[in-house]
């Protein structure tokens, strides 16, 4: 499992190299630019590794033949029509979507540029128009809260929260099913009774949770170390700089919250997983009792996904307080919206309280359920346990 995570991370880090492996043999597309205007666009259409621009060609017939022979990918004819730039893209086989959108945006830019040139402005004036952008800054009139986040901060908060949410979701489902099947298989293979003579059920319960939690921490540790090694030493620390930038943008507080929520949520799910595992009679039934918990994690996950579009809905606010889903939803609220200090603390408090209650309840219930073998659905199983042990 850890290997899988490390593998996925490696793919992410080395993506550009891997992509090259698959697409590297492909030569850059050659595109001819036929400029019928007096303006100079050579600074706009600059060749790169994907597209090579052939400038200043005039013989259209010759070029068209080359396109048909597939020596050229396209001919872009730029002309002036009533002071507006007009561009015609002639191809034999349609351009790839990526290339097409690159060219489109370049042409848009060229069009703007052309219009500015027509106005015969001074280079400074022209530059001012071309670089024109509205600078937006936020001012918070509510003195009780700290200054609001900028659009950029929110955006990167959203992206990171998405990544963190997915991570939490994966961790939860992995360790939830791990602890449930683990206990179910011990119970199913009847090794449980042998074990419970040696250690008390309460000890077994705590040991299972501690064991899986330690495994989770080890796994996260390995992933973190591999990530750091990659970040520091691959591609001259480019990934490191990027990560450092993101963390800086998000504030250290966010990172701490995300980690705390991740750990606490895992603990809560482990307690639930252990309890459910103790209900089944054989390992084949583990899936059946896992279902409700999995559905809840999925609910949290999809609520978080919905937050990608708009993280300020009432829906998200509600789910960010529900203990089983807050681990996925709350970090997104912290990262991508303006929340006060109290909101995450309240959510965290609810989560911790739930863990304590769940722990105390599970501990006493586990003792009773772990040696009770019953059939039927989850509710039926719980009923049987209550019936035969009271």
């Amino acid at each position: 499992m850890t290997l899988l995570y490390v593998g996925i991370m490696s793919v992410a880090v080395f993506w550009s190299d891997i992509k090259e492996l698959f697409t590297g043999n492909e030569e850059a597309q050659k595109i001819a630019i036929v400029n019928e205007t007096s303006a100079d666009f050579s600074e706009i259409f600059v060749s790169n590794e994907d597209i090579k621009y052939v400038q200043d060609e005039t013989n259209i017939k010759d070029l068209e033949k080359k396109v048909k022979d597939e020596k050229l990918a396209a001919i872009i004819t730029i002309s002036d029509e009533k002071g507006q730039l007009h561009a015609e893209i002639a191809t034999f086989t349609p351009l790839k979507l990526n290339d097409q959108s690159t060219i489109s945006s370049l042409l848009q830019y060229a069009g703007k540029n052309y219009a500015v040139q027509q106005l015969a402005l001074s280079p400074e004036q022209a530059a001012q128009i071309m670089d024109a952008q509205t600078v937006i800054s936020n001012k918070n009139l509510n003195e009780k809260t700290i200054g609001g986040k900028s659009e950029e901060e929110k955006q990167s908060g959203l992206v990171v929260s998405y990544a963190v949410g997915i991570l939490i979701y994966f961790f939860i489902s992995t360790f939830l099913s791990m602890i449930t099947t683990e206990i179910a298989s011990e119970k199913g293979s009847r090794a449980m009774e042998m074990l419970l003579v040696s250690v008390k059920p309460a000890t077994h319960f705590k040991a299972k949770i501690a064991g899986v939690l330690l495994l989770a921490l080890t796994q996260m540790g390995i992933i973190a170390v591999v990530f750091l090694i990659y970040a520091k030493f691959v591609k001259d620390g480019a990934v490191w700089d990027m990560a450092a930038g993101i963390v800086k943008e998000l504030s250290v507080g966010y990172v701490i919250y995300a980690v705390v929520f991740l750990l606490l949520t895992i603990i809560l799910y482990l307690i639930i997983g252990a309890l459910f595992g103790s209900l089944v009679s054989k390992v084949e039934e583990a899936g059946q009792v896992l279902m409700p918990a999995i559905i809840i994690t999925m609910m949290g996950f999809y609520v978080m996904l919905s937050g990608m579009g708009n993280p300020d809905t009432i829906f998200i606010k509600i789910f960010s307080y529900i203990p089983l889903t807050s681990g996925m939803v709350m970090p997104m609220r912290i990262g991508a919206t303006d929340v006060g200090v109290m909101v995450p603390l309240i959510s965290l408090g609810i989560l911790i309280a739930t863990i304590i209650v769940a722990y105390v309840f599970s501990l006493s219930f586990y003792k009773r359920s772990v040696l009770t073998y019953s059939t039927g659905g989850v509710i039926q199983k719980i009923k049987t346990v209550l019936k035969v042990t009271t």
């Binding site: 009847r190 449980m192 009774e193 042998m194 419970l196 003579v197 008390k200 019936k387 009271t390």
Partner: protein, 301 residues
């Protein structure tokens, strides 16, 4: 070092699994708990092992309540066979030994000894799930006492074993007894109980029908089983005074007497002063007593 159950009762909502059970097991003794399925044997074991709470009554080991003693003095072979399917035989035994606080070095000696004794040498490195059922049972049995418990509970240890392995197990139980282990076991194969037990407790639907020494139980009935080889017909035999029942078996006829004292006169009438091939008066077997006690009605006392 005695185990004592006093007025132990286990009640569930709508039925009583064990009702007012009392018995004492002395150190180094083999004690049999016998009863039909559902008689409350496993519940009793679980209460002794503190896996289930008692509704009423006390269970003490060496004067201390069982829920506060160090669990390493206990060993348990559950009725349901279960070991870790994917663990190697040897690892399994090390695991259970270490779980009981034993060191690897001392464990090795024990494991070598028992693996050899139960003829598992060749399967030592095999995964448990690849073993036959009987062999798995032997591994589980070793696992239950690898830590040399002072008190060992065996729930139906003989079920599923062939005669050769049964003998291996019997010898092992006797060896453990020699080493001072107190053993409590259940079985519904009475011949095993008869051979091994010093004392026993007969359970029927959670109620103890008898608790004490095997001999005392037999004496309750007296020597009323008379096996003879004779030409007399069943009808003729039934007319004899003190004969309650006659059963013809392959090589003999078995009479059930009202009591021991009728034997002399029956002998006189059957032999008529002459040589007689077989005339054997004995106690009932535990099997017969069991059937009588728990439901069958061969004899009534």
């Amino acid at each position: 070092m005695t185990l004592q159950l006093q007025h132990v009762t286990k009640k569930y909502k709508d039925f009583t699994a064990v009702n007012d059970l009392n018995f004492t097991i002395e150190k180094g003794e083999i004690f049999g708990l016998i009863g039909q399925n559902g008689a409350g044997k496993t519940t009793t074991f679980r209460m002794i092992l503190d896996l289930q709470e008692t509704t009423a009554g006390t269970i003490t080991w060496d004067g201390k309540a069982v829920n506060i003693i160090n669990r390493d003095v206990l060993g348990y072979l559950p009725e349901e066979r279960g070991i870790f399917p994917t663990m190697k035989v040897e690892d399994q035994l090390y695991f259970f030994g270490e779980l009981r606080g034993m060191k690897k070095a001392e464990l090795k000696k024990e494991i070598d000894f028992w693996i050899n004794r139960f003829e598992l040498e060749e399967r030592r490195k095999d995964k448990a799930e690849t073993l036959s059922k009987g062999n798995q049972q032997k591994v589980q049995l070793i696992a239950s006492f690898i830590h040399k418990p002072q008190f060992l509970i065996l729930d139906e240890p003989f079920s599923g074993l062939d005669p050769v392995n049964k003998d291996l197990l019997k010898d092992a139980i006797l060896l453990l007894k020699e080493q001072g282990t107190t053993i409590l076991f259940s079985s519904h194969q009475m011949d095993n109980v008869e051979e091994l037990c010093d004392h026993l407790c007969l359970l029927k639907r959670g109620v103890s029908l008898f608790s004490g020494s095997l001999l005392d139980l037999k004496k309750q009935y007296g020597k009323i089983k008379l096996a003879v080889r004779t030409d007399w017909s069943t009808t003729q035999l039934l007319t004899l005074e003190g004969v309650k029942d006659v059963r013809v078996e392959k090589e003999q006829t078995v009479l059930t007497l009202e009591n021991e004292s009728f034997a002399q006169s029956i002998f006189d009438q059957l032999s008529n002063g002459k040589y007689i091939e077989k005339f054997s008066l004995d106690y009932l077997t535990l099997d017969e007593i069991f059937k009588d006690k728990v439901g069958g009605n061969i004899v009534e006392v």
